[in-house]
Subunit: 219 residues, 2 copies
DNA sequence: AATCGCTGTATTGTCGACAATTTAGTGTAC
DNA sequence: GTACACTAAATTGTCGACAATACAGCGATT
């Protein structure tokens, strides 16, 4: 029997609020008003505070005692720090994946890539968003390190997505990224840990540059 | 004018509670009772819940909806995952420190080490605890990456200390660790990023083995 | 005009009470 | 004896109200 995880109201509000923030409905840098949010989601302030507390854990918002919470601002230094970490952690994930992914997982990953290849052939823009997420997700799982998975999935990914969304980035770099993915999978398949790590780091570094440039020209 | 950060009651209770957990007064794996804690600290359940929420962010405790919070258990797989991450992040910190620490910081760091050398000469056990913390703290600061500093200081360090304390580890490996520290500083001083990273990773890997062995023989 | 201090308002922090859920215990059917 | 319902107690989740703090406006002083 699979235990269905109970879902408290605070849980749902937390997810909704995270979505509103990441998708930019509440823009980066803006202040959060507890009563306003409580009204908006039709819950008490207690659950709003609970949700805010969790968002703080994700580093999506920051709080100052007696003053309040605000959505983390978009800034170049922060982006740099974030991607410095992400590069390291995802590089680590790729290295571990090259070590621990079993034949079945690798096969499934290759299948995913060939689907992406097809979509690109049809000129779909679908790839960039979900496809990329899927790809990184698989490799992360392959690392078998729950803490690492958590750190990236529950923390860093949401913030990086916030940057992408609010900078209006969708679509570009599709084919290039695909080739990078391909190489990474090859490295993993041959259990070349060092190469997998290096290629992944480079892959992340590319998207970092991409976002940094966009952020520079926006400001 | 330096703004003194306001300190809410939840802040203080959070710190106290963290202390009681890390120092083992509330042992790893045990359940937390909100009303009991509220009575103990003489505050309302609201601030206890707030404190628990923050401890969850630090990954010192885990919560299950409608069931409650319990202190993270000590286990070999968790320890392995934790140190896998720590090795990577501290290696990264050392690499960045070799890149960014200025002459003054390096000088100060060397001074710290020579103080440690003196203490060891006098046969002090003082070194292992605070000295080691100081050392890693300095290098972390040298990385200039606030997010990285946060991840380690506010998250990982507390958990690793919990392991050490509750496994009754104090004192050993003093002189060895000192020599490792010495080599790392040398690498940083000569701005040898790769060497600094490798030596730091190895240093962390040693202490990992140490704790793992202790944990194995304890269980 | 700028700064200081006062006052009222808005916002966050804390509390106690109630609701919802889980847990423990007891009895019953098989 | 085991599994299953059922009830009572304990525990967590949510709420509204009050307390403490920060903020905005305004007048007085220089």
């Amino acid at each position: 029997m699979v235990k269905i995880l109970a879902q408290t109201t605070a849980d749902k509000v937390f997810q909704k609020l995270r979505h509103t923030i990441v998708e930019g409905e509440i823009p980066a840098g803006s202040k959060l008003n507890e009563v306003e949010l409580a009204t908006r989601f039709m819950v008490s302030r207690a659950v709003i505070r609970e949700a805010i507390s969790r968002l703080e854990a994700l580093r999506l918002i920051e709080r100052t005692p007696n003053v309040g919470a605000r959505v983390v601002p978009l800034s170049l230094p922060r982006l740099a720090e974030l991607y410095e970490i992400r590069e390291t952690l995802e590089g680590m994930a790729a290295r571990l994946a090259a070590l621990y992914m079993d034949a079945h997982e690798i096969q499934s990953l290759k299948k995913l890539l060939s689907q992406h290849a097809l979509q690109i052939g049809n000129g779909a823009k679908y790839y960039q968003e979900d496809g990329d997420v899927d790809f990184h997700y698989r490799i992360l799982q392959g690392s078998k390190n729950k803490l690492l998975i958590d750190l990236l999935m529950d923390g860093i990914y949401h913030i990086t997505r916030m940057y992408r969304v609010q900078l209006g980035m969708a679509g570009p770099r599709v084919t290039t990224a695909f080739n990078e993915h391909l190489r990474i999978v090859e490295a993993i398949e041959s259990h070349d840990t060092e190469l997998a790590e290096i290629l992944m780091r480079r892959h992340i570094a590319f998207t970092r540059k991409e976002i940094e440039n966009k952020l520079k020209e926006t400001k």
